[in-house]
Each structure stands twice: as C-alpha cells, then as structure tokens.
Symmetry: C3
Subunit: 132 residues, 3 copies
C-alpha cells in the first residue's frame, strides 16, 4: 500500500490527484492490473470526471451544495458537518483504475479528483495496485 | 467467495458490518490485497462512513429520504419501492477495502455500512479478497 | 484489458450490458476473481440494479432528472451538459463483480447498466478481470 498526502485549501474543493495516483502506480511496478484508490476520511470522497474545463468541477460542487445544504434544522449530528458526510457517500470513498503497460487507462477527458467537503485539511489517500 | 448474512430490522437502516467483513478477511487468509464487498440485492447498498456518532448515519438516512421521497405519483414501478432502488444506486452496491498484514486499512473514524432501504429483510453480502 | 462498444440510442438511457460483460469475463478465462468494469467517459456512468421490470430504470432516470435539471442559470460549464457530468459521478464510472467458476456472481434480480446521460453516442467500456 502506498500512502500519499493531499493538502486541501478550501472548504469544498475538487483536487486533481491524477499525477499523484500515476506516481503511486509507477512506484508499485505493476504493468497490468487494477489500482484501488481509497480515501480514509469520512467527510471527503473521490470521483473521476472531466479534466479539461474547470467549470465542470465548479458546477459539481454547486449542484451538491444545492442538493445538500450545509445547514438544516433537522440534522442531529452535533459537529455540524452532516452535509460533508452525505456528499462523501454520494461520491464514494474509493475508485478503481485499470493499468496496462504500467499506465493508467483513463479516457481522454478523465481526471481523478479528491473531493474535499469539510476543509481545508491535511488529507491522505491510500493506493493498492494488484497485478494480474 | 465468502457469503455472510445481514439481517435487518427496520425499513431504512444503516447496519455496521465492519466486524462481519473483518471476519471474512481473516477467513480468506490474505495478508496483503484488496477486499471487494458486494451486495447482491437491488434495494440495498453499501457505504463507508463515520462509525463514532450514530447521528451521522441517522442524518444520512434523513437526507436520502428528503431527496428521494417514498411516494411520488410519477413513479411507474408497480412494486412501489422505486425510492429504495434509487438510494441503492446512489450509495452503490459494492465497495473495496485495502488489506495489509491481514487487517483492513480503514481510517480511524470509518465503518462499513450495509444500507437497507426496503426492510426489514434477511440480506446477504458476498466478499472476495484478492492478494497481491 | 478487454474493450467493448456500447452504442446508445437516446439522450438519457440505461443500457443492460450484463451479456456484454459476461462475454468479456469468458474471454478473460478467469475462473475465480473480480471483474472491474470501467467507463472511460465523463457524461456516462455505470450501476447495478433491477433487471426484471424496465419501469425501475425508467424511474431512476426520472428521479435523476428531477434532482439535477438539465438547465440551470447557475451552471458555468459552457458545453451545457453539466447535469450529465453530475449524474455520471453519482452513479460512478466503475463497478466490480465477483467471479466464481467463470461466472459473474450477480443476485437474481441484478443487471449491469451502462448509464447514458448525454447521448446518443458511440460509447466504450473497459473490463479487467483479476484472478485470485
């Protein structure tokens, strides 16, 4: 297992971690297999989406906020960050990427995003690459 | 593949299955690898979220219910449990956990939750652990 | 890695790709392991849900559209398909299925669905099967 640090700088933020995951895949030495990228936090998630126009991830954060407002008198959790927990589960806390010839097989427009929902914080991802 | 039973006791419920998955990982004998946990139902899901304050999973159920009401005159499915199918797909029906030294590498506050959306029922999860 | 084509015929559509994934699993020759199915697009996703009553997937598309309207003056992305990107991340762009005796271990009512959110288009899925 390879661990990488992901510092975030805003309360809600999609951080492009494609290069970081690529580094971990290289370090693993696996030529053909599947990488599992795991977020070990409960108020952050991970997703794969467009890496070209930054307005896409901006819009994703906007929609998530509209669907799940930060404040709601019916939330019970007393840390006040219920919305972050919900967004984390909607995006999911792990993802997979196929590896061939030592390279991640992402589509042309795909990037891997760490999804911060209660930052800024020092975060970590864990990567495990299994070969065939 | 290891199969484990998950009895649920409410209509909507997050059941902490972390110990159950841990048991399956031990039974697999794998020391270093990735566990895939698969829900073989279509009105239940699986997610990883906070295991400390039970109000977190209570709030997650509340938000899912607010976003996807049980009744809607525009649903067509005649079994009447469309909302449960939608919640299942939003949480996802499988998840992955990295294994090192025979132990699940979860974050401090993370638990694995079976998400019942149309219970109570006798449910099952299937676990497959691949070593490196 | 095995690549399969998935032509879609509507703007929003759940296409049952269970037979296609089954073909790839057979081609892989793996008897016991885990298949990762990866969508290499950013406006399409993948999910596992009911394969019996087609009204279920019809209702899922309806709910996603109600939660994430196609038009919203607050979207910034100038291609106009922000909603498709959001739906893709909610369903997720990869899924896993356990394989035993060369067969996918799906539940009785489960089918694997390619989720088109900005079609019709020629789409592709990538499948990697790791044996134990």
């Amino acid at each position: 297992m390879i661990t990488k640090s992901v510092p975030t700088s805003k309360h809600s933020q999609f951080v492009n971690i494609t290069p970081l995951v690529g580094e971990a895949v290289s370090e693993s030495g696996v030529q053909s297999g599947v990488a599992t990228i795991f977020v070990s936090h409960t108020t952050a998630g991970i997703t794969i989406n467009e890496n070209a126009d930054p307005d896409v991830t901006r819009d994703l954060l906007y929609i998530l906020e509209r669907m799940i407002p930060w404040d709601d008198p019916d939330y019970h959790h007393n840390e006040g960050n219920t919305a972050a927990h919900m967004k984390a589960s909607l995006m999911g806390n792990s993802t997979q990427v196929i590896i061939e010839q030592g390279q991640m097989q992402l589509g042309t427009w795909q990037g891997i995003y760490f999804c911060e929902f209660d930052g800024p914080r020092q975060r970590k991802i864990r990567i495990k690459v299994l070969g065939e």
